[in-house]
Symmetry: C2
Subunit: 257 residues, 2 copies
């Protein structure tokens, strides 16, 4: 479809995501932020709070994709090791960034809160990195070449994304249409849908069944591409195909609903 | 902490997870299933519906971890390519499994539904694989050596997990205690918490801030380990530490709540 577009990977860092106690929302949030910029997330990884795991993943992903976004592990506690791991991945030193120190010094002074050594840890960034503003809680993220290191707290990630868009090379916007067909079974349309997909190699056509109960099951068909005319053409064909099975498909604007 | 325990990786397959239109729940579901068996998920990856991406991830993960669980891409449509990718990753042939054919033949006959070529695709498994029962919708998953290939629909994954536990080597159960301290800031306890963590190298102690609004912010501290006596000891120390800041910590049984 849009093979010349920039690509991205997301690296989620944190034991709690792997233990199942926390359900990630940042992948979805970052992908949703990048989509209108024509940047597609091609891979995501979740690793534990272990230096070797983070370093290996950062180096694999930054070599394979245009941009990498990491989340988590940049706070003040002992398990916040992401900044050190990024420095190690790039083979550079790490130390307190004077702008980050000034920023947090002022912030904690205003809050009448002690600027402890633990809090100073949050000013350490790899040499050569530039800061990413954090309008929510102050402590900045940072950009090291094509790797953006963000917080783990979703509201802070959202805030930091505001200081990232202008740094990115954008691509052709990929539009997506989601058609929902309640009561349809994938097997009822699989052959025909495959024929439509073959007829539109410039588009990506995906089929996603849902099955909550016998009364609440069906198929979502997602058509994705940058050429809106082609997209509309394929959508019409799929609608016709579903209608021929006696089911009226409907467009969904928010597929999570 | 429990370095001799079996390990696991989860490979989530599907463009829609990367586009941000679908938020994954299977990682959490699988991790929650494995935790009481003493098997920790050490890594998760999300890849698109592209053969090369799936093959590379399967081969990397099956070499590095005791078990791999894949989700998604085993339905009847053109974008369901996981079974072929698994066969390619293992370098084996793929064909219809007679037990799977018999099963689906009977199922569709009972539903008075045509057993189309697309539906027959769901009976194809890599040579040497054993079937995993699907009590929800019939079409089986399959096990290829240490790789378990499951559906993507969460209710079906849940069903398939029922036919997996008995195949796994188990480890020492890792217990977790979550303490929530509303109003606490990580920087207030970071040094002391680091000292506690250093004192209990057999435990893993993580600190996870939340920040929903100025009135709804705090820190969750998670202590994890297989030795319950040590766990209780560390928990008491952390509670004392938080109380010394004028905040009463409380245990949370379901940290997602």
């Amino acid at each position: 479809m849009t093979d010349t577009n920039p690509t991205a990977a997301v690296l989620l860092i944190g034991d709690e995501l792997l233990s199942g106690r926390t359900r990630d929302i940042n992948l979805q949030q970052i992908a949703g932020f990048l989509a209108p910029l024509g940047i597609a997330v091609k891979e995501a990884r979740t690793v534990s709070d272990e230096p070797d795991a983070i370093i290996a993943a950062v180096n694999a992903l930054r070599a394979a994709y245009t941009y990498v976004f990491t989340t988590g592990g940049i706070g003040p506690t002992h398990d916040d090791i992401t900044a050190d791991a990024i420095a190690a991945a790039f083979g550079v030193e790490i130390s307190e960034h004077p702008d980050a120190v000034a920023l947090l010094e002022a912030r904690y002074a205003a809050m009448d809160t002690e600027f402890t050594p633990a809090r100073r840890r949050m000013t350490r960034v790899p040499h050569g990195a530039s800061l990413i503003a954090n309008p929510v809680s102050g402590a900045p993220g940072f950009q090291t070449e094509n790797v953006f290191t963000l917080a783990g707290v979703p509201s802070i990630v959202r805030g930091m994304l505001g200081d990232i868009g202008h740094r990115l090379e954008t691509g052709a916007v990929v539009h997506a249409v989601t058609l929902r067909a309640k009561g349809l079974r994938e097997g009822d349309v699989a052959e025909e849908l495959g024929v439509v997909a073959e007829g539109y190699p410039q588009l990506s056509i995906g089929s996603y069944p849902w099955f909550r109960s016998l009364d609440d099951a069906g198929v979502q068909i997602v058509v994705r591409g940058s050429d809106e005319a082609l997209l509309a053409e394929a959508e019409a064909k799929i609608e016709e195909m579903v209608r021929a099975k006696g089911i009226e498909p409907y467009r969904v604007e928010d597929p999570a609903a």
